[in-house]
Amino acid sequence: MAYTAISLAQLKVDMTARWDEAVFWTDEEARLAINEGLRDWNLLVGRWSRRIILSTGAGTVEYALPSTLIYGTRLAMAAGLPLHPTSILELDLGRPTWRSETTTSGGAVPTIPTLWAPISLQRIAIWPATVGAGVNNLLVDGVAATPVLVENGDTVDLGEELHDPLLDYALHVAAFKEGGARWAATLPYFQTFLQLAAEENALLKASKAFRRFAGLDRRRDLQPSKAPPTLIDGIAQGLKEGS
């Protein structure tokens, strides 16, 4: 479906339309709930992304990302070749000398950086380090900060298919303060939100723990546990056979 720039005012109207009775939230609560939905969606699937350009330092393996990126997802040299993702643990275990190696180390060390690893959200490492300082030679793709809607005229780019789950989720957030049956009735909205995220982000789907959160782990349904037959089972069976 098409991407559309939808305004905060329209999102609020649509959210109100999803509730049959008098709304139980204020205008500000609706704004906050919609913003919470946007930031959670960005965390789950990395919807808003951007590219930044870094310059490499001589012999430097660790780089801090600017605060405009929440985390990096892909690195490439400006000359065109991408770096393959790995982890610090793998580098330490597989090549203990990696931190001291540069593109002129020779031997098995490549002549251009070929691997990168996240150290934390906003710190990465590359291997091997460039022997000299480079200017604007490292491209980092990553997830950017979520847009925050403040004024009613503020707009956000969203696929139309996301409007419904986003507003359902905002309703779930707004209903939290109510508790009880009203909030419980919105719990499936949260689960649907997570399931849609798993459809978009394969990393989530690959996580057994996440699948459990999202209600996607259906093994239990396929293999129901069976207790030993009881007297009541016997009575029920007898009634069936008698009928």
Partner: protein, 210 residues
């Protein structure tokens, strides 16, 4: 996001008048209690996920027999590397004394190139190099630092906004477990799961590529 904005979201969720967390008129929770819980959850998330790492280099003297004083704001170690004066680096893995004793029985008496760090069997905020170093060197330490305490004074929170829903629900979980008029084990359990979900998502983001 500033701390007051997150506190306002928390106030909306528990039917307190929203004022940036300045007052809690229901008297079920005190302001200090909520701020304490907010700080606790921020630090716990940082420690549990290693999402934000600080780098430091510590000069180590061989005469110190491998005992290293950690930075005062240390919460957890991300990774450590031993660098000799000649610039040769050795990654240091986590070890305990039992492992050290079995693998290198002389680790406390015969100096060598450190191969591991033992963090939890000495005084707090110290670690020990295994084996003790045979020369002066540098410890390149990536660690999780304890961020400045949040006081609800309009300071930007030290965590990217995308992760703050989890922190918010973590705080709400504790609040809804407080014995009082608002106690609600069902919603508290949901909130605790939301915090756990955010920790899980952070770990997936940081570990999912390799």
């Amino acid at each position: 996001m500033i701390d007051q904005a997150l506190l306002t979201e928390i106030q909306y969720a528990v039917l307190e008048p929203p004022d940036g967390g300045q007052t809690w008129p229901s008297e079920i929770w005190t302001r200090a209690e909520v701020l304490g819980s907010l700080n606790t959850h921020l630090w716990a998330w940082l420690r549990d996920t290693h999402a934000i790492i600080t780098r430091t280099e510590l000069a180590i003297l061989a005469a110190d027999l491998g005992i290293v004083a950690l930075p005062a704001d240390w919460l957890a170690t991300g990774s450590a590397v031993w660098r000799t004066a000649a610039g040769v680096r050795t990654p240091l893995g986590p070890v305990d004394r039992f492992e050290g004793d079995l693998a290198l029985p002389t680790w406390e008496t015969v100096p060598g190139t450190p191969l591991g760090i033992d963090e939890f069997e000495d005084d707090t905020l110290t670690l020990k190099l295994v084996p003790i170093p045979d020369a002066d060197g540098t410890l390149e330490l990536l660690y999780v630092a304890r961020t400045a305490e949040v006081f609800g004074a309009g300071i930007t929170l030290p965590v990217p906004e995308e992760f703050l829903s989890g922190i918010k629900y973590g705080v709400l979980g504790g609040m809804l477990r407080t014995v009082g008029r608002m106690v609600d084990p069902g919603r508290a359990a949901y909130c605790e799961q939301r915090y756990d979900l955010t920790v899980l998502l952070t770990k997936i983001l940081l570990g999912g590529w390799a």
